[in-house]
């Protein structure tokens, strides 16, 4: 039984081998190129001659092979078109045919052909430059594969070498044609792009064609070039789409493209072909700078200015890489005119550091500010970024050590704006002692107490858009003051905007008071402080002359004049920010509200009590006749009484003196007769 099984298994194995051999034979016969089928293949006729590897001809004294690898051609993208698909002029020609015309790839590849014609290469071809590349120079001829095919001559991995055929050191092109870059292929292969492509096999890494385009290759001086200054950012950002987060200037406005003429373009920092992930590693690293600039004695030859850079300061600055800080900003990112190809990369620096390269928005604001305007006129007193922010040790405004930290701002501005300093001496307005006044103001006091959210100079004047108040755009222009103050005093602003002092409400054309007209600009005091309460009458009186004067004729005004702070002041009755015309039903002094307003101080005040005339004067017979006549009645009474009494006394005087003389005489007579024993004071 077991033996029978073994025999059957051997038989089955033999049968399978036979069947497999038969099937293989049939397939071989079907698919191996049999001579009978070769005549049907495209180009088979041509290959009858050109399939001979020895076939050659002589052109310009050189032996040129005319061999065409039929297999390669057959598997190429053009294999199905046959020879005459491209060499159309040979169609139907008798053999041996003449030298065919140059193949016109543009017949099918019109776009590419057109681009090539416009390109540097195409123009060189048109010029008859022998070194000029044509389609075949890069793509080959009979063995063209699709770009995605790794075998293609222009597959990404091969592109550098295709281009390198001409653009590597020592080639006729590199030697004889004006190409500003050198060591292109070497540099590329060492760059982060080349490394990715060639060493790490990252086929999406940019090749030459990625930046220069495959066909429309133009010099960077041509505005249409993909590497022209104007276009380079667009070219780079095809891949580096998020690069704006690093180069913040581009966040808004895409300035790289719009203002490419004034801004550094990508290759200014990331040199073409040499691009590294840290571009300044080559000669511009901070360490290299510090080799010289760490020397405390380093001075500029021109003017002896110290060129010492405090490394610790830089490392603690906002531009350093410490945790919580923004990011690492290298020397050459600010001092951007460095040139890595020099022994001293910094020797090409001509201009001062331009912070707006990154701080674009702020730069725009600064230019419009009075500081920026003056700076634009080359005013030596005009502060630039560094005057306020410092240089290498720059810190964020949240850092208590920063000169722009809230508590340090007044001292910062005081450097120029303190009385006697350079800004203060040029100032012709009415605000004086601003620093001193601010320090003693409520804002200054709060700041001294460490309340960093209180108003400092920049809260009202802004940090970078500082303008004189006469400028309509100024944050402290009368029209903008309520909004400026309202940024913190929000509810108050709303009240004010609905008060009679708001233009919108009163419709007055003449200037109306805004916050600082009553509260002052810098010497702002708490309104419950005596100084404010006692000064407010004259403050209101600056405009409301008559009504303020008559206020002082009545009780509230008189006691206020004596320094009594509790007596009602203007705003106690009229309201402060919500002051309205008395006739307005919403006014604190309207018929409906007046009793309650008086009642704030005079508990139980009635409507009749409110009839007290708080601005009455006895000098106005038309407005207040009864006061006027009462006053004059009383005055007449006074006059009559004094005149009568005075006359009586004056008439009396001579007689009184006469009586005195007589008494003295009698005394003297008495004294002569007896010695007086004075018990009373001897002053007689």
């Amino acid at each position: 039984m077991a033996e029978t099984k073994v025999v059957r298994r051997k038989f089955c194995a033999g049968l399978r081998i036979i069947v497999a051999t038969l099937v293989a034979t049939v397939f071989f016969l079907l698919f191996s190129g049999s001579p009978g089928r070769a005549a049907d293949q495209p180009g088979a006729e041509c290959l009858a001659c050109h399939g001979d590897k020895t076939m050659s001809t002589t052109r310009a004294g050189k032996t040129v092979s005319l061999y065409v690898d039929g297999k390669k051609f057959a598997t190429s993208v053009h294999g199905s078109f046959g020879c005459t698909g491209c060499h159309a002029d040979l169609e139907g020609k008798d053999l041996p045919h003449e030298t065919p015309a140059r193949v016109k790839c543009g017949t099918c590849h019109a776009t590419e052909q057109e681009q090539h014609a416009r390109s540097l290469h195409g123009k060189a071809v048109a010029r008859g430059d022998a070194l000029a590349p044509r389609c075949v120079s890069c793509h080959g001829n009979h063995d063209i594969s699709p770009v995605k095919d790794p075998r293609s001559a222009v597959a990404p991995m091969k592109v550098p070498f295709v281009c390198g055929q001409c653009h590597r050191e020592g080639t006729p092109v590199s030697r004889n044609r004006p190409i500003p870059q050198d060591n292109i292929l070497e540099n590329y292969s060492e760059s982060i792009h080349g490394e990715a492509l060639l060493k790490k096999g990252l086929s999406v890494a940019p090749t030459c064609a990625t930046c220069h385009t495959p066909h429309l290759i133009l010099p960077h001086t041509d505005p249409a070039s993909s590497i022209a200054r104007r276009n380079i950012a667009a070219t780079c950002t095809k891949c580096h789409s998020q690069i704006e987060t690093v180069h913040r200037k581009v966040i808004r406005g895409e300035l790289w493209e719009k203002q490419a003429n004034v801004l550094p373009a990508c290759p200014d920092c990331h040199q073409p072909h040499k691009i590294r992930n840290v571009f300044y590693a080559q000669g511009m690293a901070d360490a290299d700078c510090m080799r010289c600039h760490a020397d405390e004695k380093l001075r500029r030859a021109r003017d002896g200015k110290s060129m010492y850079v405090n490394g610790t300061e830089v490392n603690h600055s906002r531009h350093s890489e410490e945790p919580g800080r923004l990011r690492n900003v290298a020397c050459s990112q600010c001092h951007s005119e460095v040139n890595a190809s020099r022994v001293r990369p910094c020797e090409t620096i001509i201009h001062a550091v331009d912070c707006t390269a990154c701080h674009d928005e702020i730069g725009k604001q600064y230019v419009t500010s009075i500081h920026g305007q003056l700076n634009g006129k080359n005013d030596p007193n005009a502060p630039t970024c560094k005057e306020c922010h410092g240089t290498h040790g720059i810190l964020g405004k949240q850092d208590p050590l920063s000169s722009t930290f809230a508590t340090n701002v007044p001292a910062l501005c005081a450097r120029c704006h303190r009385e006697g300093q350079k800004a203060a001496v040029r100032y012709t307005g009415l605000q004086h002692e601003i620093i001193g006044n601010y320090t003693e103001s409520i804002h200054g006091t709060l700041l001294k107490n460490g309340l960093t959210v209180t108003a400092t100079c920049t809260s009202c004047h802004t940090a970078h858009q500082i303008l004189p108040r006469t400028d309509p755009a100024s944050s402290v222009n009368a029209n903008n003051v309520p909004t400026t103050c309202g940024r913190c005093h929000h509810g108050i602003e709303a009240q004010f905007e609905n008060s009679i002092h708001a233009k919108r409400v009163s419709g007055f054309s003449k200037p109306l008071p805004v916050c600082n007209d009553c509260h002052t600009a810098h010497a702002i005091h708490r309104t419950d402080e005596n100084s404010f309460r006692l000064n407010v009458m004259t403050t209101c009186g600056r405009c409301h002359e008559q009504i303020a004067e008559t206020y002082f004729d009545t009780y509230h005004g008189k006691v206020s004049k004596l320094g009594y702070t509790k007596a009602a002041k203007c705003y106690d009755c009229h309201g402060a920010h919500d002051v309205l015309a008395v006739a307005d039903p919403r006014s604190h002094l309207s018929r409906a509200n007046v009793a309650a307003t008086c009642g704030k101080c005079h508990a139980g005040a009635t409507r009749r009590f409110a009839g007290y005339l708080t601005h009455a004067t006895h000098h106005d017979p038309k407005k207040y006749p009864f006061l006027f006549y009462t006053f004059w009645g009383m005055t007449m009474l006074l006059l009559v009484t004094f005149v009568v009494g005075g006359m009586h006394t004056l008439l009396w005087l001579p007689r009184a003196f006469q009586m005195r003389r007589e008494l003295r005489a009698a005394e003297a007579e008495h004294a002569a007769t007896e010695t007086p024993a004075s018990k009373e004071s001897p002053d007689a």
């Binding site: 002082f552 009594y564 009749r608 009373e680």
Partner: protein
């Protein structure tokens, strides 16, 4: 009687209560005047300084009202005293008012006024005055008038919420004018005419302090109030109205006080003149 010599016994012109009331009135009047005028002339620098010296305006207000209470007290006490006098000596109000020692102005006062004016211009002898001369009576009733006018308006201004239940609010303005101008009249009159007529007449120089001591020398009584002297002699009541003089230390103290009051009064007058003439608004 020669000057500088004091008679052992002196005529009693004012009772102890009257003297106390006069002193109280001086203190109260001075306080009222000082504190009130600071308010009236609040626009002068003086007022601010004084207000400060008085402990601030609020304090000045307390002083003013306290002094007013004292003044009312003086006034009421005097009325009560009058009532007791009527009961003790006269029996009826009519007798009190029309009696010889009455303060009530009468026909004789008019005659004495005319006589005095004639004497002033040298057309006659000095009239023989009785216990109260016409100018003394004027001063006396001026106080009544003042208390009524200044007191009533003062109370209105003190309790405006209460009084405006009955009067319009603008009457407070009127009351202010009346209160302040009447006070000015009182102050000005007391510190000039009254001072001169009663205390500082040249023949009495340096000062008549009868109202403080209550006593006057008999000689002076004979000279100044001959009619009263004669009446007292005739009725034989003179001896009963004589008492021992105060010791020198008492009169000296009184004089010091009186001079102080006088100085304050004159200062106030100067201040009023300055405020009215040079700083008025």
């Amino acid at each position: 009687m020669p000057k500088g010599e004091v008679a052992e016994r002196q005529f009693i012109r004012f009772s102890r209560l009257q003297r106390i009331l006069h002193i109280c009135m001086i203190v109260s009047f001075m306080s009222l005047a000082l504190t009130g005028l600071t308010l009236k002339f609040s626009y002068t620098k003086w007022a601010a300084v004084l207000s400060h010296l008085l402990g601030g305006f609020e304090n000045a207000g307390y002083i003013h009202r306290s002094a007013a209470v004292v003044m009312f007290g003086v006034f009421i006490t005097h009325l009560v005293d009058l009532y007791r006098l009527k009961k003790r000596e006269h029996g009826t109000w009519r007798a009190l008012l029309l009696g010889p020692g009455s303060m009530m102005p009468n026909r004789r006062d008019l005659a004495e006024l005319v006589g005095t004016l004639k004497w002033f211009v040298g057309l006659g002898e000095r009239p023989a005055y009785g216990r109260w001369t016409y100018w003394e009576k004027f001063d006396y009733f001026a106080v009544f008038w003042g208390i009524a006018i200044i007191g009533s308006t003062g109370l209105t201004l003190w309790f405006p919420v209460f009084f405006t239940r009955f009067i319009p609010g603008s009457f407070l303005n009127v009351a202010t004018i009346i209160h302040s101008d009447e006070a000015l009249l009182a102050t000005g009159f007391i510190f000039t005419v009254h001072f001169f007529n009663t205390h500082l007449r040249p023949e009495k120089f340096p000062m008549d302090i009868t109202v403080f001591t209550g006593r006057m020398e008999l000689e002076e009584l004979k000279r100044d109030k001959p009619r009263e002297y004669e009446a007292l002699v005739a009725s034989g009541e003179l001896e009963g109205k004589m008492e021992e003089a105060y010791p020198a230390i008492v009169t000296r103290t009184i004089r010091a006080f009186a001079w102080g009051a006088l100085a304050v009064g004159f200062s106030i007058v100067l201040w009023i003149i300055y405020a009215m003439l040079f700083a008025y608004r």
